[in-house]
Amino acid sequence: MKKYVADWIVTENKRINHDHFLLKVALNESLPEMMPGQFVQIKIADSPNTFLRRPISIHYADPLNNEIGLLIQLVGAGTRKLAELRKNSRLNLVFPLGNGFSLPDKSPSIKRFLLIGGGAGVAPLYFLGSALLRLGHTPVFLIGAKTAEDLLLIEEYEQLGAVHLTTEDGKVGEKGFVTNHSLLKTNSFDGIYTCGPLPMMQAVAAYAKSFNYPCEVSLENRMACGIGACLCCVENTVSGNRCICTEGPVMNIEQLTWQI
């Protein structure tokens, strides 16, 4: 897929909770094709100490308005700069990067997929859920967070399919981690996709493996170039060190060497 570098214009920057925001940016030409699971590399202007670009997943792509959404957690200096951006500011992106989640064929037999997210890891699952729906399949979401406050944009996900929740204190949804949710005991799926903190994805991968579900995870290795040139972002796989920015960030768990 062809890659681009261009300035985008901020159309909206909305705080969601104390440490997450939704940044919407538009291009003044038509969007190239983008796949769920792909990401962009954002240049943080005038910030010599965060001079490497920051990789962020595409939360949604809206070709009608030439707009994409980025759901971002405030982590350090780079994301703090992004949170301060005002409407109409410019933002330089390299896009679209990486491979996406593998999508099922459009077929008459409806398939049910489980999309498990934690923290800002829910970001690419929205784009994925919309794509599955468009292909005539059923996305089911299972989203985990520390507290109710940390659940992000749940109403949006509910537009796409059933949403099941867990919080660590049990105030909303079931108490505990996503992998303890009763849904996993009572339902079966045609496949699982997950994105979130590494321990969560590893627990999900272990579950998927034990039930022989096909499972894809979206990794967040440290990146410099984002385009396969520097070999900084590698993950150890069954076929050696592979660049996550080009052969990922989405990987099938069969390719990984996780001890699960």
Binding site: K2, V5, P48, F51, G240, N241
Partner: protein
């Protein structure tokens, strides 16, 4: 439009702007962003005789105005390069140069000999300065005797332009440059990365799997510039300068300090089109200051 052509040994570059090894892949990775015909050359990823898996993740951490890397020369080996990569890159409209590294003198020689037979590769860059491999690499480039030995051995078996890449992790870089010149190097390129380290205080662990790594980016520019300046006074062969170049003004500083050509490394990660912008910036500078040729600018420090 000023004359931007420069000569490095028998190699003629259409302009002095090239991209640094390990930061530009095989050029293929950047074809969506730049036309290789606009730049002077591409120094491709470090290549070794046998395939190397490189170091374990994490291999990179950002530091103030720079980054540390410990990639460790991950590559599929010279035979794979010749069979699968060379056919793809041999018609790129710019000078395609292979960066050669090894663990022993025999490795370097064998690798260089294989590349000598490739028609579309007019030069090699002998990497005796990689800080991220256990054996060989930088060990050859931090001692005059071993630097001389390896340049001598490769010179005997390599017929085209031989560029020797120097390490900044030495007491006196000019001594190593002189040894390389004395043994028949056509040019020297400098600097490779500066050995460094960073610690994650929460985990009380080093950020890199290898503990130490190579520092690159704007933070090393003053060191690199000083070394180019000193080396220019010490040798007669052309110098290819690099280290933290991020814009045309940085590039011109290196040329004024004595570089005939420059390489752009880490800056490609921040802006994949930066190399072409720097060519344009150098041209504008020459026009503005009334220089007929970029060659008149080399070492033209007042």
């Amino acid at each position: 439009m000023a004359d931007l052509n420069v000569k490095i040994g028998t190699l003629s570059l259409r302009n002095p702007v090239t991209t640094a090894s390990g930061t530009f892949g095989y050029g293929t990775e950047y074809l969506d962003f730049i036309n290789p015909a606009r730049i002077g050359g591409i120094f491709m990823k470090g290549t070794t005789l046998l395939p190397r898996e490189g170091n374990p993740y994490p291999r990179m951490v950002e530091t103030a105005s720079g980054m540390l890397n410990a990639v460790g020369l991950q590559n599929k080996g010279v035979d794979y390069f010749i069979s699968y990569i060379y056919p793809e890159i041999k018609n790129y409209p710019t000078c395609m140069i292979v960066n050669v590294c090894g663990s022993t003198i025999e490795d370097y020689v064998a690798c260089a000999e294989k590349i000598d037979s490739l028609e579309a590769i007019p030069a090699i860059e002998l990497n005796i300065s990689c800080p991220n491999v256990k054996e060989g690499g930088m060990a050859f480039g931090t001692d005059c005797k071993s630097a001389a030995q390896i340049v001598k051995a490769v010179r005997k078996s390599y017929s085209k332009t031989l560029i020797v890449k120097l390490s900044p992790n030495v007491t006196d870089i000019t001594e190593i440059a002189r040894s390389a010149e004395a043994e028949g190097a056509d040019a020297v390129s400098l600097i490779n990365t500066v050995m460094g380290m960073a610690i994650d205080v929460d985990k009380r662990k080093p950020f890199l799997s290898t503990v130490t790594g190579g520092l690159s980016g704007p933070c090393i520019k003053p060191i690199a510039l000083r070394m180019v300046y000193q080396t220019h006074k010490a040798v007669k062969i052309p110098i290819i300068g690099m280290g933290g170049i991020a814009n045309a003004s940085d590039a011109i500083e290196f040329i004024l300090a004595g570089a005939a050509a420059i390489q752009i490394g880490t800056a490609n990660f921040i802006d994949p089109t930066i190399s072409v912008q720097i060519v344009e910036g150098i041209n504008d500078y020459l026009d503005k200051h009334g220089f007929h040729s970029v060659r008149d600018l080399t070492g033209a420090l007042e």
